[in-house]
């Protein structure tokens, strides 16, 4: 942090704005005031939530945090919509929804202290993406504070809406480059009658074949994840399947899964399933860096091989129905850039979800961009953040 900046900001807007060294507004209006003043003064800021996912080492004049935007503003059970401030954590959201028998079907990597805003800004979906879709499909609209302090409401709070341009999509996975997400309208689901997790362990080729069989059989799953031993905390590779729905339906599908795959599955009890999910969430941040890839499902096996050969040992998660792969470990910038180039030749994007600033500065969250995208992105960034107030490395120096 630049000496005196936070204090100067607190002097102008009130000392209550500070939480430790961070500027942590307690309302959207305070956030807007802080952003406007910082931009006016030419201060650069880094965004943070509760500080549990991204690293805190980007160079910036101040840290602007959503950690005190913690209100669940409304829950509408009949409409399956909740409106929350972006600093609400995943755990807090779950607790608020539970009495209504509702849930937000996003199981992001990282601890339960991660904020909803962080999950949306980084688009970090977990295994449930298989059944419920990516993060961008799990919210209907958002309120964003742009660097000059304007507050922009985009999208809406109904499940179908094509009025105007779909600006919320820019913020899902935009890594905060287009402003601070302050409020969100979340799309909810009713808690299913039955929610079952099955686990199989074995060697990777056998589990890959089983996953292919499961996918081809059309068994109705909400997650199908292949996990390396480091990811699952086991001695062998694991294949995890999750089924949600009516009790009869999930029991029938579980039986079909066993027949289709021909491998031994064991059903996890409720507590075991919860702790298993906790393990997956935390091993996804076991290394200093975490990145995700998107490949076609038919290319998962070869992509896993490439990942292992280039990035080395780490915790690996492969969404067998979605083609979303996640890896967490320690990787050098040169290694990652080489991997990204190799993957780009196969039409597989690599997005860094969290990493030390040295790696992000070199490689960028997205790296070099595809045909024609660079100029569009440059113009978008210039539009939203003309002064370059937000410290975020989308492209990197050597992407």
């Amino acid at each position: 942090m630049k000496a005196g900046v936070a204090a100067a900001l607190a002097g102008a807007l009130g000392p209550a704005l500070l939480d430790g060294e961070a500027v942590a507004p307690r309302s959207v209006e305070e956030m807007a005031g802080a952003a406007a003043l910082a931009t006016e003064q030419g201060w650069q800021w880094k965004l943070s939530g509760r500080g549990t996912w991204v690293t805190d080492d980007p160079p910036a004049d101040l840290e602007l945090s959503t950690r005190r935007l913690t209100r669940v503003l409304s829950i509408a059970p009949a409409d399956l919509v909740a409106t929350v401030e972006s600093g609400v954590t995943i755990a807090e959201l779950g607790a608020a929804l539970r009495p209504h028998r509702l849930w937000w079907p996003v199981d992001p990597p990282g601890r339960g202290e991660r904020t909803v805003g962080s999950v949306v800004a980084t688009a970090t979906a977990g295994p449930l993406r298989h059944g419920y879709g990516p993060v961008r499909d799990q919210f209907l609209g958002c309120t964003v504070v742009v660097p000059d302090g304007r507050v922009v409401e985009t999208g809406g709070r109904v499940v179908k809406n094509v009025a105007g341009f779909d600006l919320p999509k820019l913020h899902a996975g935009g890594f905060g480059a287009f402003g601070v997400i302050a409020r969100l309208h979340l799309r909810l689901r009713a808690v299913p009658e039955s929610d079952t997790t099955l686990l199989a362990e074995g060697d990777r080729p056998r589990l890959l074949a089983a996953a292919d069989a499961a996918r081809d059989s059309g068994v109705g799953l909400c997650a199908l994840e292949l996990l390396s031993p480091a990811a699952a905390g086991t001695s062998e590779w694991c294949l995890a399947a999750r089924l949600a729905g009516t009790r009869t339906g999930t029991e029938g599908e579980a039986a079909r899964l066993r027949v289709a795959t021909g491998i031994a599955w064991h059903t996890l009890g409720h507590d075991h399933a919860m702790s298993f999910r906790d393990i997956l969430a935390t091993t996804a941040e076991s290394g200093s860096s975490t990145f995700r890839l998107g490949c076609l499902t038919g290319d998962i096996a070869t992509t896993l091989g490439l990942l292992e050969a280039t990035a080395g040992a780490g915790a690996t998660f492969a969404g067998m129905g979605t083609g979303q792969l996640r890896w967490s470990g320690d990787v050098a910038p040169a290694q990652l850039i080489a991997l990204r180039r190799e993957l780009a030749a196969r039409e597989v994007p690599l997005t860094i979800e969290r990493a030390p600033w040295a790696l992000l500065r070199a490689a960028g969250h997205f790296g070099s961009l595809r045909n024609g995208v660079g100029p569009i992105l440059a113009r978008l960034r210039s539009l939203f953040d003309p002064a370059g107030s937000i410290v975020v490395a989308l492209e990197g120096n050597h992407g």
Partner: protein, 479 residues
């Protein structure tokens, strides 16, 4: 009604376009242009200056480059089935009709992807992939005519979008030609973007960001089992309550559609009759799909819910002919309603599901006060209303009543926390409601985002935003 003056474009441009695509693919005679003066919405008309039908992506790029050099506006158009007046061009603009780009370029059954040109007809894609046990899910009612490119521009929906999502949820990559003739590759075959989600931003941009010339779509397995329940209600509110009860149960049907009595009467008097009694106040069509055990279990929950909420009868169709008959009535409802009067204005708006009963009451009040016939056929599961107004545009009183009814219905939807459009787009029809739907800062920002793609504002000009609504974003006041 709006009618633009006749073409102001030059003979020189006509010659240059003819050299690029061949003279038979450039339309300029008044009778030819008249056929492009409307889309599926009868309340707006505008005759384009020229119509050009390129036959390849390179021709599209060449045409757009030429128009950029000459500062000529253009309007992309698919099959012209849109319901917002979005694909209408004025006399100073070229209508870029993409129906000749109608090839399915690749089908990858293993990865469940297909790559298509924008002029491919929606239903043709599902027919082409059916042999692999796959389907393209978004199914607008016009799916036998509308194009995938048009679906992309409007982010089209359809009955089965309740469970599977709208067009944006099924597009993973786009090759686009920007208004200056340059190209950009958005998204990836799997769907993870190279950078921010520009595919998501492009979807539903109503032809104002450029032209998608190659579209990668996600395919879904054909459901193993499908069960369609058809429930008749004597009270409209009871049918709405049943919708809420089903959604609250945690079951997400593949489709959950409602027709009111007025619509039902029109359907049952047509060749699309379902066999329902026309004294029903409303009927619900609930489709469950998936694994046989799951479908049976869900049906065992849904049927009692329907009865508990007042359904006087529930018919369950499991055979394909029975299902097809029920769906024909729903899918062809607009056609059946077309028999009631010379013109039919199909509206589109969304409300939170809990507001459906009150909104239907308000629509009935508008109907009674204005003395017009409004029929409702809509996607009840996601609160997406389609009030259909039967009228005769030659009668000024009726034409004025349609405008009043539309405005009052839109205002009621916005007051209920809804949206002015769920799947048809804003186009020419709903521009005036945009300032009521969005704060100035959001409108300004949308206008500027458009300029990122189209700095000159030549792509589909005059749509989505009312004239003079866009202020200078960089100088805008803080909200």
């Amino acid at each position: 009604m709006t009618t633009s003056p006749t073409p102001a474009l030059t003979a020189d441009l006509l010659g240059a376009l003819s050299r690029l695509v061949g003279s038979r693919w450039v339309r300029h005679r008044p009778a030819e242009l008249a056929t492009y003066a409307a889309d599926g919405l009868p309340t707006h008309e505008s005759r384009p200056g020229l119509v050009v039908l390129p036959g390849s992506r390179s021709e599209v790029a060449a045409v757009l480059s030429l128009l950029a050099e000459r500062h000529v506006p253009f309007v992309p158009r698919g099959a012209g089935t849109g319901l917002s007046g979005g694909a209408l061009a004025g006399g100073d603009a070229v209508l870029l009709t993409l129906t000749r780009l109608n090839r399915i370029l690749r089908i990858d059954p293993a990865s469940r992807r297909a790559v298509v040109e924008p002029g491919v007809i929606n239903a043709h894609l599902s027919q082409a992939v059916a042999r692999f046990g796959l389907q393209y899910v978004p199914d607008p009612s016009s799916q036998t005519a509308c194009t995938i490119g048009g679906n992309v521009a409007e982010n089209a929906g359809g009955p089965h979008c309740l469970k599977y999502g709208v067009t944006t949820n099924h597009i993973t990559a786009l090759e686009v030609i920007l208004p200056d003739g340059s190209t950009a590759t958005l998204g990836s075959p799997q769907g993870e973007p190279w950078g921010p989600d520009l595919v998501g931003l492009f979807l539903g941009s109503e032809g104002m960001f450029g032209v998608a010339v190659e579209i990668t779509v996600r395919l879904e397995p054909t459901p193993r089992d499908i069960r369609t329940l058809f429930a008749e209600f004597t009270q409209l509110r009871a049918a709405s309550s049943a919708v809420s009860a089903i959604i609250a149960s945690g079951i997400v049907p593949a489709a959950l559609e409602m027709m009111d009595q007025s619509c039902l009467e029109a359907v049952e008097a047509s060749i699309y009759a379902t066999g329902a009694r026309t004294d029903a106040a409303a009927v619900l069509l609930v489709e469950l799909d998936g694994a046989p055990e799951a479908v049976a279990a869900e049906a065992a929950v849904v049927e009692p819910l329907l009865r508990a909420n007042g359904a006087r009868s529930v018919t369950v169709a499991t055979s394909e002919p029975d299902r097809a008959r029920l769906w024909l009535g729903r899918k062809k409802a607009f056609g059946a309603l077309g028999r009631l009067a010379p013109d039919l204005a199909v509206q589109d708006a969304v409300v939170p599901r809990s507001a459906l009963p009150d909104l239907l009451d308000q629509i009935a009040a508008v109907r009674d006060r204005l003395g017009i016939r409004i029929s409702n056929v809509f996607h009840a599961g996601d609160g997406n209303l389609h009030p259909c107004i039967s009228f005769d545009r030659r009668d000024p009183r009726q034409a004025a009543a349609v405008v009043t009814a539309n405005r009052e219905i839109m205002e009621a939807c916005l007051a209920a926390g809804g949206s002015i459009t769920g799947e048809h787009g804003v186009g020419s029809d709903k521009r005036e409601y945009m300032p009521r739907a969005f704060q100035p800062a959001a409108l300004d920002l949308m206008c500027e985002v458009r300029r990122v793609f189209d700095p000159d504002g030549r792509a589909n000009p005059g749509k989505v935003f009312p004239a003079n609504v866009c202020r200078e974003w960089r100088r805008g006041d803080r909200q």
